[in-house]
Structures are given as structure tokens and as C-alpha cells.
Symmetry: C2
Subunit: 210 residues, 2 copies
DNA sequence: AGAAAGTTTGCAGATCGTGCAATAATTTAG
DNA sequence: CTAAATTATTGCACGATCTGCAAACTTTCT
């Protein structure tokens, strides 16, 4: 029946999650990545070691704020549904940012996390590899987008999957670059500008390689 | 003084490496990926647990046959030097396969390893994330290639790095797709065809997104 | 209030990976 | 050929991540 009440249980859960992410990021910034052990994070969040894994699949997930719960089939369907006026490139980029957003936008955590990315750039790469977990879902989404284009009309299902893969890797790479730039410049501009930058990157790449 | 003699020491080293890779792949195929523990692999190769890490940085490296020793600045320079007549796309793809080749070509191991990839497709994804380790070197290589094109002539160094990143991710993604296809079809055709397929993939992607 | 459902926690244990120092094998020099 | 130098192997101790399980606890529902 989908009430609007969050309920005590859910509120506590969200709070614990935030406490864990905050502790993780804080410790990384204060003591360095190598000192951000599981024990340290859990102690900082005042939560048992075991509980941590009720919230995250790995230590790194807490640091980079990976939130797979947000990437549902419904969420993807919604993004796919709201693309009147978008061409292929824009639609795919917005799909990609649909996965990325929970990590790069948010509360006070955002600024801290961006400092972490600035200090440990390889973690940005880890975000990209998060996409491997949703490869199948994202690929399907891209396929749906490509089907709107007459240029992909004659492809077999197998070809379409491959094509979607290629398009997706270009867009994920460009998105990562755009986010990297954004982080380097202090992550002050609104996210929409990052999205536009990513779209622009894809376009110039396509333009120049042609 | 660069003699052609391999020497007993080097021969033994190569042999041990092969034994480890063979054991890893064999056990995965025989018992399943989850049973291919470090202990099992080392026992299969008749080598101490500790010695394993004189050869590989991680367990997975042995399974997928990651060989970073082959990716040297000299090797990259050589690839970059031998590209008369190649356009941007072909040059970058060949650069990418320069990193990939040690994993997908080789001895009797190849067939076994391809069976592994067929059975555990996510490991193919892990290959792609190998590229993160060489991001800097590969990015520089791609920059060198892009500089040959007048279309990238007016970019600042920072822009060039970003552009190289975008091109690289498209090419890595296409290469992975081509290899995936190749694995799925039994990996019988020569590698040069896989390379051509990857080049073709990049070209049609660029063509269609324009 | 009491039953049902979900959450936290401790504990035991598998597994990966590293540093160190001793031992053994190979290569090199005298 | 022998002794010294270089390099490889090994065992051991250790820290760290992550999982399964069952008991205790909290929130929710009736």
C-alpha cells in the first residue's frame, strides 16, 4: 500500500548507512586510505563489524558510496520513459548518470567524498568498474534506446547487444572523464553541467574519429 | 649484453609460471571457479603458497593469465612506432591489443583459458579492468596517436588527456566485445580477424552515433 | 500483549595477501 | 673448480576482508 511514512525501522536503517559512509570517508581523509580498515570504520560508526556487511558488499562500497539499491529495473524504466526530445547520445548518458548519481550527489557527504576522489583518483576508476555489476541491465537499456534509431533497425539481437556494449563503454568512459574534471575543479558546478560536458565529450569524440 | 641464451634460471621461471597458470585454469574447469583456491592452485602446480605471489599479484591474475611484464614502455613505443598507414582508430585498437595479446594468444593454455571465459563471462570483464593499471601509459600512447590527427591539433594538454580517455574507453570496450564474440564462437579464427572486427565495431559505432 | 518480521551482534572460520628471515639453487668471478 | 654474489623458494606469523550461523534484540502488526 505504499504509504509516505518512512517508519522508524527504515529511518534507522538510513541513518546507520549514512553513519557508515561518513565514518569511512572521514577516516580516509583523516588517516589515509590504508588506515581505513573495516574495524576503524565500524568503530567510527559505532556499529558491529558484522553489521557492516548488512549494508555494503565490500569495504570499498562504503567509501565510494555505492548504492545498488537505487539501480532497480523500475528506476531504469523510468529514465528510459522520460526521453522525449533526447537523441541517442543524450539518452545513454542520462542512463549512465542514473547509476552514477547516488554516488556523486547527495548531502554533506558529497563534499567529503569528492575530496577522497581528489586525493585517491584511482577510486574514480573503481566507480567505473561498478558498472560491470549492471552490465546486463544497462545493456538492455541501451538496446532499447538504439532501437529508436533507424540506423540500428536492421541488426540482429546479437549484433544489437554488441553495438550497445560499444556505445555504453564510450558513454561510461566519457562520463567518468567528465566527473573526473568536475572533481578536479572542486565539484562546485551543478551536476547537470557535468552531464552536458559528458554529452559534449561523446559528440566531439564521435565527430573526430569519423 | 642481451644474449639469446634463455639460461636455466629464466627457463625455470617461465616453466613455473606456466605450471601455475595451467593449474589455475585446469582446476577452474574441473572443480568450478569457487573451488579454485590459492591452496588448490599451488598444490596443483607443486609450488609453495608463498611462491605464488612471486609470480602474480593476485589469484585472479593467474586465472586470466595477466602478464604485466609484457606491457613495458618499450613495447608500447614499438607499437607506436609501427603504424605507417594506420588511421587513428586502427592505431589505438592495435595499442589495446598489444596489452591484450599475452592473455588471449599463446600455447595450449589458450584453449583452456577460453573455455574458462566462456563458462565465467564476468572474468572477461576483469580483463577490461586490467587496463586500469596501465591507464597512464595507454593514455599517453593514445595522446601520441591523436596528435597525428589535425582534428586534435588545437587541444590543450588537459583536453588532450580527456579526449584520449574517451577514445580509449570506446576502443577498449569494442575490443572486449570482439573478444567476447570470438570466445563465444570457439576462438578458432586468427587474432588478426578479432582485431579487424574490433576496428569495424568502432567505425560503425562512430558512424551511427554521428 | 503477543506473535511475526526484520536487525544486530559475536563467534568461528575460510581465504587472500604481505613482511621477514632462513634455506636452496643458479650464476658469476677468481 | 671453488667461493662469493645473486636470485628463488619456502615456512611462519600476521593482518585484513568477508561469510554462515544462531542467539538476542527491536520494530511492526494484529
Amino acid at each position: 500500500m505504499q504509504t509516505s511514512e518512512p517508519g522508524l525501522r527504515e529511518r534507522k536503517r538510513a541513518e546507520t548507512r549514512t553513519k557508515l559512509e561518513t565514518a569511512a570517508v572521514t577516516i580516509v581523509l583523516r588517516d589515509g586510505l590504508e588506515h581505513a580498515t573495516l574495524d576503524a570504520i565500524c568503530e567510527g560508526a559505532d556499529v558491529s563489524n558484522r553489521t557492516f556487511f548488512n549494508y555494503f558488499e565490500s569495504k570499498e562500497d562504503a567509501i565510494i558510496g555505492a548504492n545498488y539499491a537505487h539501480v532497480t529495473d523500475e528506476a531504469i524504466t523510468e529514465i528510459l520513459g522520460a526521453r522525449e526530445g533526447q537523441d541517442t547520445v543524450e539518452a545513454v548518458i542520462r542512463l549512465v548518470f542514473g547509476v552514477l548519481n547516488p554516488t556523486i550527489e547527495g548531502s554533506a557527504l558529497l563534499k567529503l567524498r569528492m575530496k577522497v576522489f581528489k586525493e585517491y583518483p584511482h577510486l574514480l576508476g573503481r566507480i567505473a568498474s561498478q558498472f560491470e555489476r549492471f552490465t546486463q541491465q544497462l545493456n538492455s537499456g541501451v538496446q532499447a534506446i538504439l532501437k529508436d534509431s533507424h540506423r540500428y533497425a536492421n541488426e540482429t539481437p546479437a549484433e544489437l547487444e554488441i553495438s550497445a556494449d560499444a556505445v555504453l563503454s564510450l558513454c561510461v568512459g566519457s562520463a567518468r572523464s567528465a566527473v573526473k574534471e568536475w572533481v578536479a575543479s572542486g565539484s562546485t558546478t551543478p551536476i547537470e553541467e557535468v552531464i552536458q560536458r559528458a554529452i559534449g565529450l561523446v559528440r566531439t569524440t564521435v565527430e573526430r574519429l569519423k
